[in-house]
């Protein structure tokens, strides 16, 4: 059982603080914050999510820059507490629509109300937004979502296509639309995070897709939903080591999941037969299914790096990225980074003529090259030339002193696994009942690395 729960801002102020058991001495929030801020143990610079100071265990998760913390004196399951912290943040987000420091500060009384029902004397009672609804009486105070910088996975939909009304995903589960009527709608997001490591010769060393089907329901009366996936979907791979068995099949063939897990509301009765998930979605946001794929897929980007030495104190780096996804798709917020030799003193950049929305930077402090591109259309090439000046002669091989090149990006309406929601069926209450259904796909780079 946990002893305390609190939320700290980036500066370390308590935004909410709830003591459930009174067995942890005062000042735990300060002790925790100091420890996290000045972490210097085990050679790392970042505090692990769980640590012990003077017999008190501190658990924390970071959510939109805030620290959600629990303390305990007992030897608990770390998974349970960290999962709980994540769920608390999700419940709060369901209620407030937008979760950030400002909305928390404005709604702290509501948050206290939630906290009282979620945990009693350190024992979890419920984290279901649905069940909590009947115990919560405060009305959320909305903050102006329009002016907020987009945060979190849902926000990625706001940039690329114009399909989504911007407010939908920042809507509280309890608040009504202006005009008093609730809009009947349901969102199903297929979010895939991809990790690839390319060898220096461009060969794929490892690749993995970590996918989630996330749902957020604003349907009244909790109708049953059927979610049909690819019929040829299969789960489990013999042996587990056959990463390359399917090499070259990237353009066709079945979707093979290594493994997956499901939200507790999901019924799998017909899943084995027709790959259909049946569920009564509870209110709020939740993952219907998480899956993992190591089947080879076509990487959306190829990275080419060339380093040419030009005399003893100079070198040129040529970075080339090629978008290999279809031309009707656009990737957003692309950032290419590359550590340069520590003795690099100056870098001058040369972009392609006519390049739009691209910026370059040399981060002096950590000797890192950064190249950001606002948009990249499918099937296109982009090149950056960087001339490096060294403060000392390089000893030998520059490639051993620089790299690897890493990339982050977001590609809306594209998913490399080709997992699809074939249809989304809502049990009809009446003939006129026809809620909005949004099925959205997005791909994000998790660890996208090319060695040089």
């Amino acid at each position: 059982m946990i002893s305390q729960f609190f939320v700290l801002s980036q500066r370390g102020d308590s935004i909410v603080f709830r003591d459930y058991r009174g067995d942890v001495p005062k000042g735990s929030a300060e002790i925790f914050f100091r420890k996290v801020k000045f972490w210097k143990e085990d050679g790392g610079e970042e505090a692990p999510p769980v640590f012990n100071v003077d017999g008190v265990n501190y658990f924390h998760v970071k959510v939109v820059g805030l620290l959600f913390v629990a303390t305990s004196r007992t030897n608990l399951s770390p998974s349970l507490v960290l999962e709980l912290l994540q769920r608390i943040s999700r419940v709060i987000k369901d209620y407030l629509g937008v979760l950030n420091e400002d909305s928390l500060r404005k709604n702290f009384v509501l948050v206290y109300e939630l906290l009282d029902e979620v945990v009693d004397f350190g024992y979890v009672q419920t984290t279901s937004t649905e069940i909590l609804k009947s115990y919560i009486f405060n009305e959320p105070i909305m903050i102006d979502a329009g002016r907020l910088p987009p945060l979190g996975p849902a926000a990625m939909f706001m940039q690329g296509t114009k399909r989504m009304p911007g407010t939908a995903i920042t809507k509280s589960v309890v608040a009504n639309e202006p005009g008093g009527r609730k809009r009947e709608e349901i969102f199903v997001d297929i979010i895939e995070k991809i990790s690839i490591t390319f060898s220096s010769s461009g060969y794929i060393l490892t690749s993995e897709i970590d996918g989630t089907i996330q749902m957020k329901s604003y349907l009244t009366g909790n109708p049953e939903i059927r979610l049909a996936l690819n019929e040829d979907l299969s789960i489990g791979r013999a042996g587990g080591r056959s990463v390359y068995d399917y090499g070259g099949s990237a353009g066709s063939g079945a979707v093979i999941l290594d493994d997956c897990n499901f939200h507790e509301s999901v019924h799998l009765d017909s899943f084995d037969v027709d790959r259909t998930l049946t569920l009564v979605p509870p209110d709020g946001e939740f993952p219907v299914m998480n899956y993992r794929i190591t089947q080879e897929f076509k990487p959306p980007f190829r990275i080419n790096t060339l380093i040419e030495e030009a005399g003893s104190l100079k070198a040129e780096v040529i970075l080339k990225i090629r978008a290999e996804f279809p031309s009707d798709i656009t990737a957003n917020t692309i950032l290419v980074q590359m550590p340069l030799p520590t003795y690099t003193s100056r870098v001058s950049f040369e972009l392609e003529p006519g390049a739009v929305g691209q910026t370059t930077d040399f981060k002096e402090s950590n000797k890192r090259l950064e190249w950001s591109l606002k948009k990249v259309l499918g099937v296109s090439d982009h090149t950056l030339r960087a001339k490096l000046t060294f403060s000392q002669e390089s000893h030998g091989n520059i490639t051993k002193e620089a790299g690897p090149v890493s990339m982050t990006f977001t590609i809306p309406m594209y998913n490399p696994s080709r997992l699809q929601v074939k249809y989304l069926q809502i049990a009809k209450k009446s003939k006129t009942y026809n809620p909005y259904r949004w099925v959205r796909y997005v791909t994000q780079a998790n660890s996208y690395v090319a060695r040089i």
Partner: protein
């Protein structure tokens, strides 16, 4: 700063002593506009609340809400607003539930430190407990139980009693946790009201699954704490693990929330099924839990499966195979924090059964954006799963990390390569890789690699030729880290004949003696120069003289002593000196593990807890009273750890002292080992006794023990502990008849300490009378029986058929203690005994006495 100032009109307050709390630390921070921070504002609030208290004007509630919010906001940021307590209470007469909730929150926060004020609230809370709205009843009851004021417990019993019988499930969930709260405020009140029995009834009958779960949690805590005081509670605690209850909970399993499921799974994992059918039934029932999106449920299920199958090796392995995919999925889904918690558990499993995961090594490759603590776990897993078929790829990957710009990561990766090299048979390629690191000319890479090359050479002396060629090219000026420097110096001394300029490199290092800050390096320098001298006397003589002179004048005791020892040895006889300082060596083949297998097993038993993340058993980081509902039995485990790990805890510390050297012994200690292999040197004819004695004294102070080649590790350890060699050789004279002190007393801590320190003097298996077993309805019966024979129990635990006891006795006439670990298997009637004694000569006599006492058990 924020002392509450009684207002002139504070008639009410006259009776109440207001305790001012220490000013909160963060009040100087600039508060956000909505958060009042000063004294003025607190008294402002007080005034405004007072005005509203009696008002019935429309809109009053809204105004109150705003004020209450301000008060709670102050409370959150640490401003003491206890001075408005009475006003808050006065304002609480409302039907607005939001207001009520804020008021309850406020009251709960300040009641404990203002018990007099808390009395004010009892009235309205009690009234609300009878409200017709179940929500209000629940809220009021929860707040009432949260006051944490001892004087007020009498007001709790009534509302709690009716709360437990309430028709509404919500109220009953609140009431069941309320009982636990009451227990923590006043255990006696709770027990006197017989609430635990009511909880038990609810647990077995309530239709609301959350009530059942809360009762279970409350009972686990209450009986866990009571068990140390009363036998009855200990029995009750045992019944939580009885078959009917476990089956009852499993039958209702699907009704529980995911969190309650975790609690039930944790309980079930302590249950011992009677046969394998039961095990398979349980596993089939719960298998779908492995596909749950909540990592806590999955880990709790895995723990249960692992515990259930512990004695079924093949099924146990199948469980490993089965849980692999779900664990990997959990690691890659969810937030980085949850992923870390799961990864820690995966790490534990990989370390236990690396071969099962050896094909999955690619999952343990590090991603560039992962935090260091994750990478470190992954590197350890990669090291563990490396075998003939995947080593090449793993080492190739690790070499990429070694070239990484992230220095701690590069270091860890090099160490990982080294560890793989040390655990493999075919190290050819790895040695080449390591040597390539030296050519990278990055100081931190060179430093780490040197340390590893040294260790490698000690295991594979046959590689010396290749290594020395590369190491010889390293300029000692580029090596600054003490450990790396020490490694280089060791190699210079050890391979002086192969490294052409060894004497000169050593000489230049000795010239800078004064600047060398690390005593470790200076010690190595002394040894290396002496070794070099034996091989190449003319070239080294000058350096040796300088080193001995500098060493003898050194302020560091160990350096001084070692220099003096070498000087005297050399003065006495160079050949003998060589045999002492540089005897022929055997390659090191065994690696010390940093953790004993007992500690690892203990951590495994505590699967799905912080022990796994911290990589230490709970007794190392948790106070006794917080070890959870099964604290007592855990303490026994703790004791047994203390016992069996003696021979491991100490090396672990030594390893730490040696800054995590990969091999157990540093080069010096290895030399001492070498000398022990060669101990005939000490019996060499013509060996002057007096010198031997004096040098031996020096040897001891330098940790060069001429220990005879003792097979048992414990002896050496006792030595390290400074206990002196136990009287191993001399058999004890036959002891007089042993009499035990009937009033022996020993503190649990003292027991634990002794148990850790003493070696096991007798370990044997015996049997117990079947009648005795029949009499053993609970551990208590045996404990009482042994007490009649002046043998006292300090801790006991376990369930049928396995009971474990820790007992002690003392000699009647002198304070010599005997400690016993006794494991009784009631189904096989076998008893395992481990006896430790202060006076080892009498342990046999004691053992006989103990067994005779045991044999009488059951004939009462």
């Amino acid at each position: 700063m924020f002392q509450s100032i009684p207002h002139a009109d504070a008639i009410l307050l006259k009776r109440i002593k207001i305790q001012s709390m220490a000013p909160p630390a963060q009040t100087h921070r600039s508060p956000s506009p909505s958060q009042p921070s000063g004294k003025g504002e607190v008294s402002d609030l007080k005034m405004q609340l007072r005005q509203l208290a009696g008002s019935r004007a429309p809109g009053t509630d809204d105004a109150k809400r705003e004020l209450f919010k301000k008060v709670i906001s102050c409370m959150t940021i640490g401003i003491d607003v206890s001075s408005v307590f009475s006003e808050m209470v006065m304002c609480s007469a409302t039907s607005d539930i939001v207001l009520k909730k804020m008021c309850y929150l406020y009251v709960g926060n300040y009641a404990k430190h203002n018990p007099d004020l808390a009395l004010l609230t009892i009235n309205f809370l009690q009234r609300d407990c009878k409200d017709e709205d179940p929500m209000i009843r629940g809220l009021a009851l929860r707040s009432l139980c949260s006051l944490r004021v001892t004087n007020l417990v009498e007001y709790l019993v009534g509302p709690l009693g009716s709360g437990l019988k309430d028709s509404n499930g919500y109220v009953r969930t609140v009431a069941s946790i309320g009982v636990l709260k009451l227990y923590h405020i006043s255990a006696s009140t709770c027990m006197d009201a017989d609430f635990p029995a009511t909880l038990k009834h609810l647990m077995l009958n309530d239709r609301d699954a959350q009530v059942v779960a809360n009762c279970l949690c409350a009972l686990q805590e209450i009986w866990g704490l009571e068990a140390t005081k009363s036998e009855e509670a200990a029995t009750e605690r045992e019944t939580l693990l009885s078959k009917p209850l476990i089956y009852y909970l499993l039958n209702r399993f699907k009704e529980f929330s995911e969190w309650a499921q975790c609690a039930v799974l944790e309980l079930v994992s302590k249950y011992v099924p009677s046969d394998s059918d039961e095990i398979f039934d349980m596993m089939n029932l719960l298998e779908d839990r492995l596909q749950h999106a909540n990592g806590a449920v999955v880990l709790a299920t895995i723990k249960l499966f692992l515990q259930l199958t512990l004695s079924m090796a093949d099924i146990h392995q199948q469980v490993y195979e089965r849980i692999k995919a779900p664990l990997l999925t959990l690691v890659s889904s969810g937030g980085p924090e949850q992923s870390y918690a799961v990864l820690s558990h995966l790490h534990l499993l990989v370390m236990r059964a690396p071969y099962i995961f050896s094909a999955d090594y690619k999952h343990f490759y590090c991603q560039y954006n992962e935090p260091f603590y994750v990478k470190k776990l992954k590197l350890e897993m990669l090291t563990a799963v490396a075998n003939e078929s995947n080593t090449y790829e793993i080492v190739t990957e690790l070499c990429e990390y070694a070239a990484n710009v992230d220095i701690p990561m590069a270091r860890e990766s090099i160490r990982a390569v080294g560890k793989i090299a040390l655990q493999q048979y075919d190290v050819n390629a790895i040695v080449d890789r390591l040597l390539q690191f030296l050519e990278m000319e990055k100081d931190h890479v060179t430093a780490e690699t040197l340390v590893l090359v040294k260790d490698l050479l000690r295991k594979y002396p046959q590689w010396s030729h290749d290594c020395i060629a590369v190491v010889g090219n390293i300029s000692s000026k580029n090596v600054q880290e003490p450990k790396a420097k020490a490694a280089l110096i060791w190699m210079l001394g050890e391979y002086a004949q192969d490294m052409q300029d060894a004497p000169y490199v050593l000489e230049s290092l000795i010239e800078n003696w004064e600047e060398e800050n690390s005593a470790e390096v200076r010690l190595h320098l002394l040894t290396a120069v002496v070794k070099c001298f034996f091989r190449r006397p003319p070239e080294t003589q000058k350096a040796l003289g300088a080193a001995l002179a500098a060493g003898i004048n050194d302020f560091h005791q160990d350096v001084h002593d070692r220099a003096l020892l070498y000087y005297r040895l050399l003065q006495y006889n160079v050949f003998i000196a060589e045999r002492v300082v540089n005897p022929p060596k055997q390659a090191v083949s065994v690696f010390a593990d940093t953790q004993s297998s007992e500690i690892k097993d203990r951590i495994f038993d505590e699967f799905n807890s912080l022990s796994v993340v911290y990589q230490k058993p709970s007794y190392m980081f948790t106070d006794k009273e917080h070890r959870g509902p099964f604290a007592f039995s855990e303490e026994i485990g703790n004791l047994s750890i203390g016992a069996e790990s003696t021979d491991n805890v100490v090396p672990a510390q030594r390893i730490e002292a040696n800054d995590k050297d990969l091999l157990l012994s540093t080069s010096d200690k290895e030399e001492s080992k070498g000398s022990s292999h060669n101990d005939s040197a000490y019996n060499a004819p013509g060996y002057d006794g007096s010198l031997a004695a004096s040098s031996q004294a020096d040897l001891v102070s330098l940790d060069y023990k001429p220990t005879p080649n003792v097979p048992s590790a414990t002896f050496a350890i006792d030595d390290l502990l400074g206990l002196g060699l136990p009287a191993t050789a001399t058999p004890p004279p036959s002891p007089p008849v042993l009499k035990l002190n009937t009033k022996a007393a020993l503190e649990p801590n003292a027991f634990q300490q002794k148990w850790r320190q003493l070696p096991i003097s007798i370990s044997q298996e015996t049997s117990i009378n079947p009648q005795g077993v029949a009499a053993m309805t609970s551990p208590q019966t045996l404990i009482r029986h042994m007490q009649g024979h002046s043998i006292h129990c300090i801790a006991s635990g376990g369930q049928a058929p396995n009971f474990k006891f820790f007992l002690y006795a003392q000699k009647a006439e002198e304070p010599a203690t005997y400690l016993v670990e006794c494991i009784v298997n009631s189904s096989s009637c076998k008893v395992q005994l481990k006896i430790k004694a202060d006076d080892q000569s009498t342990s046999q006599a004691f053992s006989e006495l103990f067994q005779s006492a045991l044999s009488k058990f059951g004939f009462l």
